[in-house]
Symmetry: C2
Subunit: 434 residues, 2 copies
């Protein structure tokens, strides 16, 4: 059931590509991948997904069998045969500029800018939206929760709620970029070096006749894994189980929809039981608003485990757009300003100043980039990467520093105010051109 990168997209992109190709529209086009808006109450997005996108572009191709199967679809019966020939030979040989992963971005700022023949760029749309959309959603959600947790670790327990495989690795990587302190995902632990986490649950106890036997077996083989779940049905009673090895219980997990009262009574019971060193890990429908509330009310929870909020994928209101911004027709390369094109036309740059961002034409950027930072950097030329993949820690540190530097109101669970994103005169003139 595996498919080449070329086929993992939407049917209609292939239809459009065939039409462009058959119609001789082979000119280079520049497409922008950008957020149209922010979900209600969000003050920023954390760009993520670039590295998976570059890997996808390097692998972008169709097998002979796939080309044959595509050509055999009834809808393609009158599609030009030259298109299928080209598809069989296709490798991505375009140019890519991108805003580095981990950077906060705002509506209409291109996070990835691709220049390639229009019929090729068209076929990338769905994969780009899937990869960057999912990664950006998860990284942003993680960053917002980490911010709300005010220094307490947030753990990514989303793996089992995902569809698994590639998508859960993509999400685990994005959550780590967003600042979580660990993951339940074994593949992410091994492939990406993210610290693995989990708590010893009642399921394990069930296989043993006596709890003591279960704990002894576990502690023999995993003496340093000191995270234990308290039973949902009777968490306070569960504390007594640990009496024999209470010094080695680093944390207990409580899972409940109302963690405030429960965490307080568990804390009191732990203290009474001589387990002041044991931290409390809380879970149960947590999101940034719930975490901020627990922190504000000083709930005695030292760690937050988040499942669904990190596995929910693309949030309503934050879908990415991949739209044409510039096109070469014959010998002329010109901005595209018709309906259906990018919100702002032309090949653009994003300049970040302390107080605001400026969206301008690439040719205007030189002047501005002396006082501000140009965010879009070339990452691929003629289909080849211009540098090694960034280390995940570099990306994660960038996110930490740049989110930290955002104004407080944008970082609230319900953001107040919005980033000032200005449009250069040159760009504004173009946008009005038609």
């Amino acid at each position: 059931m595996h498919a080449s990168a070329g086929l993992v997209g939407e049917f209609y992109q292939l239809v459009l590509a065939a039409t462009y190709h058959g119609d001789g529209l082979w000119g280079e086009a520049t497409f922008d991948l950008y957020p149209r808006a922010l979900p209600a109450g969000w003050g920023y997005l954390v760009a993520a997904g670039l590295e998976p996108i570059l890997s996808m572009l390097e692998a972008f191709s169709f097998t002979e069998a796939e080309v044959r199967q595509l050509a055999a679809l009834p809808a393609f019966s009158r599609a030009p045969s030259s298109f299928f020939d080209a598809l069989g030979r296709l490798r991505f040989a375009g140019d890519v500029a991108a805003i580095p992963e981990g950077t906060p971005v705002f509506p209409n700022e291109p996070i990835v800018r691709i220049t390639a023949p229009i019929w090729v760029a068209t076929m990338l749309e769905t994969r780009l939206i899937q990869l960057a959309g999912t990664a950006t959603a998860v990284a942003t959600r993680a960053a917002r929760m980490v911010d709300a947790a005010a220094g307490r670790p947030v753990l990514d327990f989303g793996s089992r709620r995902s569809a698994g495989g590639e998508s859960s690795l993509l999400a685990a990587r994005a959550a780590w970029i967003g600042g979580v302190s660990g993951t339940t995902n074994a593949h992410a632990a091994i492939a990406l070096g993210i610290p693995p986490f989990g708590t010893m649950s009642d399921t394990f106890l069930a296989a043993y006749g006596r709890d003591a036997a279960a704990y002894d077996a576990f502690r023999l083989h995993f003496p340093d894994l000191g995270y234990f779940a308290l039973p949902d049905h009777d968490p306070l009673d569960g504390i007594a189980r640990f009496a024999r090895f209470k010094d080695r219980v680093n944390a207990v997990r409580i899972d409940h929809e109302d963690l405030l009262p429960l965490s307080r009574s568990v804390r009191a019971s732990l203290d009474t039981a001589g387990m002041k060193h044991t931290r409390i890990l809380g879970s149960g429908q947590l999101d940034e608003t719930a975490i901020a509330r627990l922190v504000r009310l000083e709930a005695p929870i030292q760690m937050f485990a988040v499942g669904r909020a990190l596995a929910a994928g693309v949030e309503p209101g934050m879908q990415l757009a991949f739209r044409i911004a510039e096109l070469q027709r014959g010998a002329v390369r010109s901005p595209v300003t018709r309906a259906g094109s990018a919100r702002y036309p032309g090949k653009k740059q994003v300049i970040r100043f302390e107080s605001h961002d400026l969206l301008c034409l690439d040719v205007e950027a030189g002047a501005w980039s002396r006082t501000g930072a140009a965010l879009l950097r070339p990452v691929m030329a003629a289909g080849r990467r211009l540098s090694e993949p960034e280390a995940l820690t570099t990306i994660r540190d960038r996110r930490a520093a740049m989110v930290q530097a955002l104004p407080g109101p944008l970082r609230l669970p319900v953001a107040t105010g919005a980033r000032d994103v200005r449009i250069s005169d040159g760009l504004a003139a173009l946008a009005l051109a038609e």
Copy 2:
């Protein structure tokens, strides 16, 4: 970044497996994969994901490199080396029984029942929950929307909102089982034979200087694809674009959060323009409640395109559990009734009667299965499939017939009443045993 099936799970399942293995707990165990509850307002679930699960079980293994990397994790430094040896040689050789895909199921009914050494079965938990959870969520969501649409086709436009790759194919397959009439997913169209759909959008027009040139090119190569989007900013005005080839416009798509008034005015404009044959395809945050409302109010919409509701994955309240039900300790195989085990212990069967379901012990099932239908069937023995994969149309037809046969109140967008799932005396006695 690809990993063997064995590694695509949660870290803690590997920890537990190592503990069981190191502790000599090698006995056969039977685990149930079952829904604990239904999301609020849902009257049933459509079981799905079995075929991907069987493929996963056939591929379940670890590469040498993965075993080495796992053993090198600090947490595993004192895990038994015999575990890693066993891991390197491991293939799934257990028995599997399952309720056929497409069957409506209810809380506590095992949709998949796996018998294997406990340390092996333990490692399957996350993958089973991911695959069956995602597929069941999507198939159920699709079935509920198809039901609400009362004969009008529902199309799966969820692909671009997913994380892509494996997960979007899994979802497209499940949506088809649930009854959608087509997909935007190219891979699903080719690999699974699901009819591909999509609408010609403004993005395509943007690349051309004049709309007429764009439409001519498109119609030359795809004369039979008669689905066109109306522009969001001015849908009524957009109808005039089609004047030259209005006979070939099979459907126009409108995308709006309030489709009722818009569909009525578009219908009137189409009729005035001599396009009575042109159907309206509606999209915009659609779910079963919205579709039912539009149908009830007789909105002139002939087809519904659904994105997010088919890509949202596992709904709150429907997470699947994978819990131990029976275990062989030494020479004795006995039901597990401790906290952390399955809600009902023992190796079970589900008998479907017209008026109710009966959850009973496998050994009790013979008597009941003369008057009712035993739903769990053996599908794998000693790691080998007992039959060819079911045809998707068989599964889809089963879903259609069996959902149709459910009482009306369970099929409502907000279900009233619940299926009567009874517990046999033998099972009830066991559940009370401890």
